[in-house]
């Protein structure tokens, strides 16, 4: 507890209110370009100037929303990752189920530049962990982990973009098929 400056409860409440507001607005109207600080503040029932006390701009707010979601996703993945006798496909389904559950907001956030980067990093990490647990040395494989992560990301983006008409199980099986 050295440099961990304790947050005033008021700050925490306000930040959360803005985050919840922007998510609500985006689910109702999934057009990021139509967002304004004014609309977000009104929905959060807070003054517009308060927004600038917590966030640099709308992009900064969205970046923080993205990071929150990934923290949540990773905390929900970690118990699954520790089960050794769980195979590729089962882990992948756990992963995809998270996306399915939050598909509405995730489909919108995909448009945000920060999302892809974070998603790519997360996927790559998960693949490397997975490979290690299988005893595969990733440095020797023909396909780079970046290429693998990018191609899976592409499939998940298409899945979410098109309204999630396929089950997590089907998408998992298609991804597995790709790397047979």
């Amino acid at each position: 507890m050295t440099t961990q400056k304790k947050q005033d409860p008021r700050s925490i409440r306000s930040k959360r209110a803005f985050k919840e507001a922007v998510v609500e607005i985006l689910i109702e109207n999934p057009d990021i370009s139509k967002l304004t600080v004014q609309k977000i503040a009104k929905r959060a029932e807070l003054n517009r100037a308060t927004f600038y006390l917590h966030f640099l701009d709308i992009n900064d707010l969205l970046k923080q929303v993205v990071y929150d979601i990934f923290d949540d996703l990773l905390s929900k993945m970690s118990p699954t990752l520790q089960i050794d006798n769980l195979n590729n496909q089962e882990q992948l389904i756990t992963f995809l189920d998270y996306f399915y559950k939050h598909r509405k907001i995730l489909a919108v956030l995909f448009e945000h530049p920060g999302f892809n980067k974070k998603m790519h990093m997360t996927l790559k990490d998960l693949i490397v962990i997975q490979r290690k647990s299988e005893g595969v040395d990733s440095t020797n494989t023909t396909l780079s982990m970046d290429i693998l992560a990018s191609s899976i990301l592409g499939i998940i983006m298409w899945w979410l973009r098109n309204g999630v008409h396929f089950s997590s199980e089907y998408i998992a099986s298609q991804i597995i098929e790709l790397y047979r």
Copy 2:
């Protein structure tokens, strides 16, 4: 020449000026969210109101820029597609070379919602044409053409996003490797 309403040369010039202006601005500062109609009109040396005569808004302008690029890409691909004895990899390299050549503006346009959709359609079409020329019946293959197109798209996006540090040949070989 029935419903093909002939364009006034003035319209054509103005539209082109706005398109060139927005591309110039985006190459200098690749942040779509910082674009304004005002800046674009100033760069095009035209009045701001003229902008609204040709485009609905900035998104509409960007959509048209995206479509122009894909028209150009397809017109450059079609001679290549007609050469029967050209293999997968050589066609893929022709495709990727186009992206390499226009990487600066394409890396920016990837952020635009319309881009991914158009790109996915184009890729899927090219894959189906390719398969047909090889005599493969796409309806019988295990992987859907959508999944294939999405995964390749993911790789190309990663390639462009990370400053194109790999050659078209390397990326092509990695994509081919994926579907071995």
